[in-house]
């Protein structure tokens, strides 16, 4: 590849894209064809090289018994926990044949057939710690990690079993890459120590058990967690707040990274030129794929999405097989050394 692919696996369910394919909430969560059309719309209209079926991270919780608030039909939040005791956590063996899980799998199937494998299908799957937080109550779970660690482990372990089953079904249905999202595990909510004990082992287990490439996503400040993320067995890390160059430095060549266009201000309100420039900056700082920091907001203009795609296409990346580029890279390394990058520390996040 001579350019960085504009393969953004965060949801891009903007107003214009939804109008374009005739999609609406809540039907897009429940109708496989509408979900497929909407997932592929960023590709068809803007040239974004990823289709992302499943638009929310409450689906898993709903399957496991939680109630959702469907008055917010675009991303229905979980209204409350479903379990007090992790021993009770249970789900239907054939959960993937009905309700919303079946819709997602059917949408993946439709996309796989429609594009004959040409368009990468990257569904989101909520990761174990976040799922456990939904079904037990987030604050409850976090408290349990201190007060009753065994119980916390049991809950997260059960969630992991579920995630593995669901993930495997997604791969069987034709997904190319999985996108486990673990927002509750972010550095804004838990400390690196908690992460190491309660999140990392389950990422590892999930990564080993599901045999498709995986992009781990965590919103917020994940600076201090990077050394642990590196050990997760996930193939790529999709990040939000940390600077791209810092993520690259921390991950070295051991893990690829994806990010990070701000979705609070830049994507919805910025100009196309600003998006273009920021995309170029991310590429220069060394991301493997440029993507948005989180799901794109409803009002994000098409022009900005297109600017992001165009910047990916226009910005050349050095070719490791080219001697000239290697020598230039050596020059870049010298300059980095001069800037004292090896000793750079970042303070970010609550912990």
């Amino acid at each position: 590849m001579d350019y960085v692919p504009p393969a953004n696996p965060l949801a891009q369910t903007t107003k214009e894209l939804m109008e374009w394919c005739g999609a609406s909430w809540p039907k897009a969560h429940r109708d496989p064809k509408m979900m497929a059309d909407l997932a592929a719309a960023p590709y068809e209209v803007c040239g974004i090289e990823a289709a992302r079926p499943q638009f929310d991270i409450s689906l898993e919780a709903e399957v496991l018994g939680c109630k959702l608030d469907w008055d917010k039909p675009d991303r229905p939040p979980v209204t409350g926990p479903a379990y007090k005791d992790p021993k009770d956590i249970t789900w239907d063996d054939k959960f993937y044949e009905k309700d919303r899980a079946a819709v997602v799998l059917e949408a993946i199937n439709i996309l796989r057939t429609r594009y004959a494998g040409d368009l990468p299908i990257i569904p989101v799957i909520t990761a174990p710690f976040t799922v456990a937080g939904h079904i037990m109550g987030v604050e409850k779970l976090v408290m349990m990690t201190v007060t009753d660690p065994e119980k916390a482990h049991a809950a997260i372990d059960a969630a992991t079993d579920f995630c593995i089953e669901y993930g495997r079904q997604m791969v069987a249905a034709g997904a190319h890459i999985l996108f486990p999202a673990d927002p509750s595990a972010s550095g804004d909510l838990i400390s690196p120590e908690t992460y190491e004990e309660f999140v990392l082992p389950y990422h590892k287990r999930f990564a080993r058990a599901v045999s498709a490439p995986k992009i781990l996503h965590m919103c917020g400040h994940t600076e201090k967690l990077l050394p642990l993320i590196k050990k997760s067995g996930m193939d790529c890390f999709s990040f939000d707040a940390p600077p791209a160059w810092f993520v690259r430095q921390e991950l070295g060549n051991e893990m690829t990274c994806l990010g990070s266009l701000d979705v609070i201000d830049l994507m919805p309100n910025g100009t196309a030129e600003q998006v273009y420039a920021r995309t170029q900056q991310c590429i220069r700082e060394g991301v493997n794929v440029v993507g948005t920091a989180c799901d794109v907001s409803n009002g994000t203009p098409l022009a900005n999405l297109k600017a992001y795609v165009q910047a990916c296409k226009d910005t050349p990346v050095p070719d490791p097989a080219d001697a000239d580029d290697c020598v230039r890279a050596y020059g870049r390394a010298k300059a980095k050394y001069l800037k004292g990058m090896a000793d750079y520390k970042i303070e970010g996040g609550a912990f």
Binding site: P316, D322, V327, R328, Y330, G331
Partner: protein
Amino acid sequence: MQMDIVMQQVEKMRLEDPVRFNRLVQEGMAIELGIISPGDKKSKSAEKLKEEFFPNDAAYREIAQAVLDGKRAVVEPKVKEQIKAGKDPVDIVTNALMPGITVQCEMYDLGMSFVPEILMSNDAMQAGIKICQDTIGEVPSKGVIASFVAAGDLHDIGKNICAAILRANGYTVIDIGRDVPKEKVLEIVKKNDVKLVCGSTLMSTTKPGLVDTSLLLELEKTGVSVACGGAAVSKAFVDTFTNSVYTKSPLETVHTAAKIMEGKKWNELRT
């Protein structure tokens, strides 16, 4: 990827071309520090070509750049200046004007520049050449070629591109223009030391003009043949009459011109 393979090339460069090695290291540092941005393909090609073809003399370089930029209004005064300064007009043509069009044609071949650039550079170069010719008369070249568009036809983009590329390759081109009757071509051939005529046409109704011109030149024993091209012209068509050769592209015209200058005749050039 086998890292040692590329590292071998790096080591080779470091030992055999240390100037280049250091320049690339500096480039990398400058990019990282944000002083320069990694160049795009087009400016990289232009830079490489200029290194290869452009003269070292600063004033000549300016002229070459002005031809490359297609800036006739800059070329003219600068050429006049150089002549006033006592420079040999032949030298100016060969080492200041020509490099500009050569680089432009190379860029065109690479798909980095397009028809508008060729036409503008051609125009700028011609203006410079005219000034030199006014000073000393003939400017020596690889040979004189006359170029025209057949009687009744006004489409001349093809002729102009061909003329530009022939000039870039060192030939003097007399552009007779468009809608040119055969008698006019004969007149130009007789008055000048023309070695080859290039004729083109876009319309099928005006194809006979090429036939008539070729035959007239033969009849009058000028010894000059017509290289025929243009959208309406095909090899099979050109094979149906004498004193002519089919040239599909400007590049083929250049090759044909070279062979003619060596002394080959039109029938020897027919495949």
